[in-house]
Symmetry: C2
Subunit: 300 residues, 2 copies
């Protein structure tokens, strides 16, 4: 009756919690093991080689914890290293955030003009443009890196004139280009959705990659038959309608999930709560050298 | 005739180049080996344990390159790990940026009210307050973390309304507190000197730690007799007034120095040029795993 193993979700830091949030909302029976590489965050300004190495280390750390599906909840890694990860991670499906977001935008843009905002590495990689052009080569795609958005979110400056000015600074050209869809190509950006929407106006539809990635995860798990049994089925399997602690532990959701970080930074809990919309049940530390070992073991 | 070995300077990223710049200006005969941990930058939001570990790895990488003096050109590492580094680095003097900046401010504040701006880790550590109180316990010290300043500098938004608003956002309380000295406790901040000065007004003196750290390095090297011989003396030592390539190579300054980074990021050169006020002669990559090895070799 289904596959009770957890879903592995990783990000360079805590931004991927917006993807975890959507997975919990769509699939309340699923458990997640989340890994945030908080000791080496952010990845967005680093070189492709470094992003690939760090991404593979993160992925292998989750693979060792027996996850059934790997969600790369980091736009930067999804943009520059998803093929690399797919080549190196065997036995379980790997999904990134780029393809689901690109597909959602391509099917919604009547004007065939789509904007993409993200980190420097994401925009430079042209990953969204390539994914969109695979669907429809006639769509024009305009990218703009917005490196201030992540620190603004992490500073809690959501409803601030500084943020409004920064959004205008980055997006005024986008509006002039006549786009009708704007992909939020960084997992931190959904937190800024209101200020972005009010700046670009209601004529531009915002595409939240986190949401579409959760939907993609659900579709793939359905297709492969690796969804977790729903709580009612679990109760039946455990011998009738009486809930017991084993069944509760086998259940899904936030309380049954694990959250790992390579550094437990002082503002970890506050930032995590803002992104997840709930308090983390607990935080486990995975030393960064353990992540590095994941690579060495396989390489030498 | 002096000590021709280079000075080792390290930072979490490229900010420490403002210290290198002041060293070149004050001591044109000196060579520098600069190490920026650009693969793991920034350190400012990380835990103390992680900052200590990364800092020691950086320091040992420079020690292995036979430097005569170690300058910790990173306020975050200087704030939380300078004692730790002094205990673990033997044989050469180690200087941080906190003590020189604190001393300069303490001797200049007539009102005995000093402000300190820096990363979250620097301000939380109370390092400047402790250093100032060792000089004069009656001075009041007010700290304010300004996490947006580094990304603003790295985005090149020096003369921008976003930066002016951010400076106001962080500093308006400082002005109300009646400080007469403000320590720029992060090596990126001197780049924002003009906008900070115009925001806080001319009644508040800005203390640039980079400048005072270079002066401290000069004083220590004089006291220990480890200054590099001046070019004229070098020429004499090499047999008269004729310059030859050996003498030129043994000379100091930017062209004779080395610049190492743990990641050569796409905007490395542009950011480095803004901070150093000159183009880097070359960039050498030190893989991050080599930095980690520095710790393992000594620990196990």
């Amino acid at each position: 009756m289904g596959d009770s193993r957890p879903i592995g979700v990783f990000d360079s830091g805590l931004g991927g919690l917006t993807v975890a949030k959507e997975i919990f909302r769509l699939m309340p029976s699923e458990r997640i093991i989340y890994l945030g590489d908080t000791a080496r965050v952010p990845y967005g300004g680093k070189s492709e080689e470094t992003i690939r190495r760090f991404g593979l280390q993160d992925a292998r750390a989750l693979l060792d914890l027996d996850v059934k599906l790997l969600v790369v909840a980091c736009n930067t890694v999804s943009s520059v290293a998803i093929d690399y990860l797919e080549r190196h991670i065997k036995g379980i499906p790997v999904i990134g955030v780029v393809l689901p977001g690109a597909r959602a935008a391509a099917t919604r843009s009547a004007e065939k003009r789509i904007g993409v905002v993200g980190t420097a590495a994401t925009v430079r990689s042209m990953s969204y443009a390539r994914a969109i052009h695979n669907i429809d080569p006639n769509i024009k795609v305009y990218g703009k890196p917005c490196p201030l958005f992540v620190p603004l979110v992490e500073e809690g400056l959501i409803d601030s004139d500084i943020t409004r000015l920064a959004v205008q600074h980055y997006l005024y050209e986008m509006v002039d280009l006549g786009i009708d869809c704007l992909i939020l190509g960084c997992t931190h950006y959904p937190i800024l959705m209101e200020v972005i929407q009010s700046t670009v106006g209601n004529g531009i539809q915002l595409i939240d990659s986190a949401l579409w990635t959760a939907k993609e995860a659900q579709n793939i798990m359905k297709a492969l038959g690796i969804e977790s049994a729903a709580p009612s089925e679990q109760r039946e399997a455990a011998g009738g309608g009486v809930r017991n602690s084993v069944v509760d532990n086998a259940g899904g959701g936030l309380a049954a999930s694990r959250f790992l970080g390579s550094d437990v930074t002082p503002n970890f809990e506050a930032v995590a709560e803002a992104l997840l919309g709930a308090r983390l049940p607990s935080i486990e530390k995975v030393p960064v050298e353990e992540l590095e070992e994941k690579e060495k073991i396989k390489r030498f």
